[in-house]
Symmetry: C2
Subunit: 351 residues, 2 copies
């Protein structure tokens, strides 16, 4: 699949050049490029450079404000509401993380909500930044396309609304969970469809409630939530906390960002940052986290399993590998990126 | 199953009298009794009056501090750490909720962690109180017995760690999710075992990783997390946030409260409260929540489904019914409660 490898610096340059070519100010383009590559480093391949052509398409269609006034619209105690002014999502989330780290220093816990953001890559990128600063980070977002029906329903009123949580762990990899509230991400279904593969039972149902395993019929079905009604409830709660509370688009208001490149998505996101030092010596906390991690790593395994994974461990390993060897790029992705570059008048990748 | 009905006031009196008989101060007993009954009202039948005999057993065994000094051990910005001093769990959580409501007024968001608590009934009880006060409530807890192995493992290092989230909704029922991170609660497995029933595939696996459906063999197996590795990750993160961070028992330190009545459980819990008014007019927020709820309620249903449930709706309906008609009590539960009463020298229930 992955015939090529693209170094991190080349990826950042390429993304920056393409964004600048369509009118993104250089300094903003550099921020976005660096954050996009973080998704690739973490192994969220569908959320990094892969998205560049779609972002460019949206910018060209006028769906993004290239000269936004991202601002703290409201500030009350330890809560901030950010108006993203329809900027590129990464810029809004960069500001949200910056705000959260500033406020957590003052209040020990803070909540930063945002509206009028856009797709900003993998959720893990932002909680990782908070954990790297020594804090616990929690992130929730309303997805930019509805692929899930309420439990018992047919109408696609919910997205795969992700939640990510990061806990600092000292010398160990940051303990970092980044999950969609659906069994499978829609990207995996689309990938299967591209390859003409079936999808496993349990990923989707059709409008009669039967298992949908033919990926080419995905548009007729609904993704299934994790734990049935439980995942539906979680997705709904994330809609309310990251969307409705911030006056962002939710449910029927959601704009399918793959179908409408010119319409404002009004993406809603929320970040919580928490300071372990409020609970005692943070070194002691990190020691205790290490013990929990070690106990799990060393515990007995099921037959055929040779390693029990701690959330975040795989992404950490992958990031080290990819910093060294580059980001794997398939032939299809290389073609898509170079088509995009040619349209932008940017030098194509030569891998 | 439910041959009898017990009025709320009779339940409160009965619980109070039993607790007082084993040495709980009258005012504390009344607080605990009222909170226990809230679990019954919400339909969390395994978390309300059903638990009284177990609580009494623990008190008699010396496993509870009847004259605790529940105190704010640390206070830093919008974060409070409460030392429950091994009090009855309901008292610790009552204090945590009270603290959260006080602090959210000042900071618009707050985080109240606690350690040295005990089992305190259904998670929903506490987030409901926060939502009734007009705030958004989030609750996480480390369960008091490990029934789940890490994903890919065998050793029971995790509990069913619940998370509950409540959002005020004006005249509509509070939108309230209260879920364990396992597919099924262990109580449901025990209930099946009592009745000699099989449990569905997907609830548990045995030590070889095969589906365990014979409920009488439950102690040999592991509950399965919702969404496989995703639910494992969520349960682990709740362990860290509600347990490790508060210096409460987690993993190997967890005391099985059903097996050891005299040992201190050091239960860890965490509450977040958030003020919708920080984001704008709270009435507008409630109007928007109502729209999301209505859109889901009115959406198309799968064949054979006549109602799409909103989390919290069922509990709200049940609470109204049970306030009117009483809490359903099975013959087995009545016997257990009256055995307990006789041991305590309290007048048995006469239903």
């Amino acid at each position: 699949m992955s015939n090529y490898f693209l170094s991190v610096s080349a990826a950042v340059d390429f993304i920056t050049n393409n964004l600048v070519a369509v009118g993104v100010p250089q300094s903003d383009a550099l921020i976005v490029a660096n954050l996009m590559v973080q998704s690739d480093l973490a192994g969220a391949d569908g959320h990094g450079i892969f998205r560049l052509p779609a972002y460019i398409k949206r910018i060209r269609a006028g769906g993004i404000n290239l000269h936004p006034n991202i601002r703290r619209e409201r500030e009350q105690g330890a809560v901030t509401l950010i108006d993203g002014d329809n900027a590129l999502g990464h810029l809004v989330m960069a500001r949200a993380v910056e705000t959260a780290i500033e406020k957590v220093k003052e209040y020990s816990v803070c909540w930063v909500g945002s509206h009028h953001g856009n797709h900003s890559g993998a959720a893990s990128v932002y909680v990782r930044k908070i954990a790297e600063a020594g804090y616990i980070g929690i992130y929730m977002a309303v997805g930019n396309a509805n692929h899930m029906a309420p439990w018992g329903g047919i109408d696609l009123l919910l997205s795969t609304n992700p939640i990510a949580i990061a806990v600092p762990a000292g010398d160990r990899p940051i303990v970092l969970l980044d999950i969609a509230t659906t069994v499978a991400a829609y990207g995996k279904v689309k990938l299967a469809a591209q390859k003409g593969q079936m999808i496993p039972e349990g990923w989707m149902i059709d409008k009669k409630g039967n298992a949908l395993t033919d990926s080419s019929r995905a548009s007729e079905g609904s993704l299934l939530p994790i734990g049935g009604h439980k995942g539906y409830g979680l997705a709904l709660m994330i809609s309310l906390l990251a969307g409705t509370l911030n006056n962002a688009a939710v449910g029927k208001e959601t704009i399918d960002f793959n179908a409408h490149h010119d319409l404002i998505t009004n993406t809603g996101q929320a970040i919580i940052a928490l300071d372990p030092s409020a609970f005692g010596d943070p070194k002691e906390f990190i020691r205790r986290v290490g013990k929990v991690v070690d106990d799990i790593k060393k515990s007995s395994k099921l037959p055929g399993i040779d390693n029990i994974h701690i959330p975040g461990e795989g992404a950490d390993k992958l990031a080290k590998e990819r910093r060294l060897n580059g980001i794997p790029i398939s032939q299809e992705l290389l073609n898509a990126l170079n088509d995009c570059a040619r349209e932008c008048g940017v030098v194509p990748l030569n891998l």
